[in-house]
């Protein structure tokens, strides 16, 4: 199950049943139930997100400095306090219980994307590279770690990452493995005490993560549930703090992070979508709004001051997009049960449904590539399935945004991964013939005329 919305990390559910337990309650397609969220302070939430150690293990600060003497805060983010201000935006500073200063990951490695060179908090990072095994790097950092408490801190972190590394290596640059690595973390933890076990206590997930896109945080203003299959129901905070599963070994620490993330959730829900930064053909956009209203709004909602959003999970057979992700989620019974009986499941329920949520489309132009698996590089191709490339890769030197198609510059590849010159080329190719990477379905735009599609694209720029 892919957690949609503000997930710092995601939950995917996979597995077989246990007949001795009560029947599992899965989600249903159709309208998602609304859940009251705990109140928080958005300003404090931003401060926590950008400055605190909710991932409580990491690299000793001295070793980080030795390894990365030239990597500074680029870009500078307002509100970075103390030593956080010296670090890149996707790393936080904290001090562990032994007094060791640590550099730890934060949410922005996945949930901080750049648009035209500017960092946008909450925009999914469609260019992050999870295709390399991190073990060499994390082990290698040990070269720079002193004996004693720093060594203990490094070893704890390195062992955790090594435990989940087999489940987080994607075969394509840009897609995200968070659901799979979250399942791997669950497999190593006791759901009640959160105690870490070196050996997995549940059958781990498959080692080949399904590809997922990182959804923009601003959608959480409207969404009742998290994740593409709508399975993150009830209190959103526990889902949002799942990234802390890497290092949080005690209920005491989990309670503290839960309190922090009450405010982080409020911050995430307060994020406004960015405005289209270029010119808009207002007349064409107005035509597009009419087309959108007739063909799209029933699922994706309406916009403007009197906006509406139906919070619908569309059945797999109706939307037709690659079903692997949703199917994996609903079959992952052992992880559903783990979550629901754990600390995290007190006010939240994992209930994936056999379908995909039709997301709100605020600032959808910024969120390329499209669909839950990032399989379609532009809105133009999404609206005309004949234009979807079977094999393609982003062109990142330089990274350029195409204002006509609403996607990042890409090129088609004449072949898939199997015919690539080597692993280095293969990992850059998005190969839609691979399991979970399919680009089919959501063919509703095919019924539109070319001029209608152009009008809808122009309208989407205004959202």
């Amino acid at each position: 199950m892919r957690i949609v919305g503000p997930a710092c990390i995601t939950l995917v559910l996979w597995g077989c049943g246990n007949s001795a337990e009560a029947p599992l309650v899965l989600g249903a397609t159709g309208e998602l139930p609304k859940a009251l969220q705990r109140a928080g302070d958005p300003e404090l939430g931003r401060e926590i997100l950008l400055n605190r150690g909710y991932v409580s293990c990491g690299v000793p600060f001295a070793a980080y400095q030795a390894a990365s003497p030239a990597r500074g805060p680029d870009p500078k983010l307002a509100g970075r306090l103390g030593r956080n201000a010296e670090l890149p935006y996707d790393l936080n500073f904290t001090v562990d219980q032994n007094g060791v200063e640590l550099v730890v990951s934060n949410c922005l490695a996945c949930h901080g994307g750049r648009f035209d060179g500017e960092l946008v908090i909450g925009l999914g990072n469609a260019f992050a590279d999870f295709s390399g095994n991190p073990v060499r790097t994390i082990e290698g950092i040990g070269l720079l770690v002193e004996d004693g408490a720093p060594a203990e801190a490094w070893q704890r972190w390195a062992d955790r990452i090594a435990a989940i590394a087999p489940y987080m290596v994607t075969d394509t640059v840009g897609v995200n493995p968070a659901p799979n690595l979250t399942m791997a973390l669950m497999a190593h933890r006791d759901p009640s005490s959160l105690r870490w076990h070196e050996e997995p206590q549940l059958a781990p997930p498959p080692t080949a993560p399904l590809p997922t896109a990182v959804p923009p945080w601003w959608r959480m203003q409207k969404k009742h549930a998290m994740f593409y299959h709508g399975g993150g129901q009830g209190d959103h905070v526990p889902f949002m703090m799942l990234k802390s599963l890497v290092c949080t070994d005690t209920l005491e620490e989990a309670r503290m992070i839960d309190e922090w993330f009450t405010h982080v959730r409020a911050f995430i829900a307060s994020i406004e979508p960015p405005a289209w930064p270029y010119a808009v053909d207002e007349a064409l956009a107005a035509e597009g709004e009419q087309v959108f209203g007739r063909h799209c709004a029933a699922c994706h909602g309406s916009y403007g001051e009197a906006w509406s959003y139906p919070n619908l999970v569309v059945p797999l057979e109706q939307v037709g997009t690659d079903p692997a992700y949703a199917r994996q989620a609903i079959e992952a019974e052992r992880f559903i049960r783990w979550f629901n009986r754990s600390f995290y499941g007190r006010g939240a329920q994992a209930r994936p449904a056999p379908g995909y949520v039709a997301p709100p489309l605020d600032a959808v132009w910024a969120t390329a590539p499209y669909l839950h698996n990032d399989s379609v590089p532009s809105i133009a191709a999404l609206l005309d399935s004949s234009q979807r490339p079977a094999y393609w890769r982003h062109l990142d030197e330089p990274r350029e945004y195409d204002q006509e198609t609403l996607g990042w510059r890409f090129e088609t590849s004449p072949h898939g991964k199997a015919s690539a010159a080597g692993p280095a080329e293969a990992r850059t190719i998005y190969d839609t013939t691979r399991p979970g990477y399919g680009n089919g379905g959501h063919t509703f735009g095919d019924a539109l005329s070319e001029s209608e599609r152009r009008a809808v694209i122009e309208y989407l720029k205004t959202l």
Partner: protein
């Protein structure tokens, strides 16, 4: 950060130990505690960064044997296994390091003033016998040590490795109490293999031939045999540091095949060892694993090392059990240990094993 760059960062530890030795009596000492080492390393790291990176110019031979004094550090390693007329098998290592102690040439009036320090190690290792070893440390002042470009060569006092400009052969000459060698090392058809990391580069040249004379146990004998050399330069040289030990293995498999592996592994045990190999031919280097043969007895002191290893070569389907050629302890040198090793059951196959920073925390 790439594994290669991490290795390169680690490499400075070895050179820090050299710098510490310079402040002492000139005799070999055990490495200082890690914390002290790290603090010393901070200064050496900064000094190393003040030197240029190793660059990416095409490698040339014999030109790249020559001194590269614009670099922070460089090394010349020659090691081999020779056989006397009576069948005695003896391993040898003759190794030179240069380290810049300051960015610019020394401007003091003292004749002892120097920018560069040199360290050299001579080891003669008889099969089944006790090795003879000596390490020297000197400075590039008053002709005590140095390196040349034309013809290429490096020396520390009367120990010398020099290139015959016409033939490209290497002349080795060194002696200590109880042992000495005067060798000519030549190519035998193999090509040098580039070694490339972020902070250092150079080449490894396996499959060399050795002829010459060896003095050992009061005798002098004519010998022939095999050798390999490695030449590196850059902002650092490979060595274990911090929480990681580094094992380096160069191994001659015979018939022109050879492998060169580097493995980082935790001093405290656990974790995932990181192994990177190159080979001649290249396909032989795929998927090689190596591990101490007896993991139940980790090193207990700074001068105790896992000398026996198991090396698996999936490309050839072989599993080698390697062990030191000599029976006695070799020279622990500034936190490192090295020995000529042979494969169990195939004594003609030989290699050089170098271990650094293996002492447990």
């Amino acid at each position: 950060m790439s594994k290669s760059s991490l290795l390169a960062l680690a490499s400075i530890a070895l050179l820090v130990a050299v710098a510490l030795l310079l402040r002492g009596t000139g005799t070999v000492v055990e490495p200082p505690p890690t914390l002290s080492l790290e603090r010393a390393a901070d200064g050496v790291d900064a000094l190393a960064r003040s030197f240029p990176p190793p660059g990416d110019a095409p490698l040339v031979w014999p030109g790249d044997h020559a001194a590269k004094t614009e670099q922070f550090a460089e090394s010349w390693i020659v090691a081999g296994l020779v056989e006397g007329e009576s069948g005695e098998r003896v391993g040898f290592q003759l190794v030179f390091y240069r380290l810049a102690a300051q960015p610019e040439a020394a401007e003091r009036e003292s004749a002892w003033a120097t920018r560069d320090v040199y360290r050299a190690r001579l080891v003669v290792e008889p099969a089944g016998g006790k090795p003879v070893a000596e390490e020297r440390l000197s400075r590039s002042a008053l002709g005590l040590a140095g390196s040349d470009s034309d013809p290429a060569g490096v020396w520390v006092e009367d120990w010398r490795a020099s290139i015959d400009g016409d033939s490209g052969a290497i002349r080795l000459s060194a002696s200590t109490a109880g042992a000495g060698l005067d060798f000519r090392v030549e190519t035998s058809g193999t090509a040098p293999v580039p070694v490339d990391a972020e902070l250092y580069r150079g080449f490894w040249w396996p499959g060399l031939r050795v002829t010459g004379r060896l003095q050992f146990e009061g005798r002098e004998m004519a010998v022939t045999g095999h050798a390999m050399m490695e030449r590196l330069w850059g902002r650092g040289l490979p060595a274990g540091r911090g929480q990681l030990a580094l094992a380096r293995l160069w191994f001659d498999l015979g018939d022109g095949a050879a492998v060169r592996c580097e493995q980082l592994r935790r001093r405290a045990g656990g974790g995932t060892p990181v192994t990177e190999c190159i080979a001649y031919p290249a396909s032989l280097g795929e998927g090689i694993t190596m591990a101490p043969a007896d993991t139940s007895r980790p090193a207990r002191t700074a001068s105790s090392y896992p000398a026996r290893w198991i090396v698996a070569l999936p490309a050839s389907g072989e599993v080698l059990r390697i062990e030191p050629l000599s029976a006695g302890p070799s020279l622990p040198a500034a936190g490192a240990w090295s020995a000529i090793v042979v494969a169990d059951g195939a004594p003609q196959r030989w290699g050089l094993l170098e271990l650094s920073n293996f002492a447990p925390p």
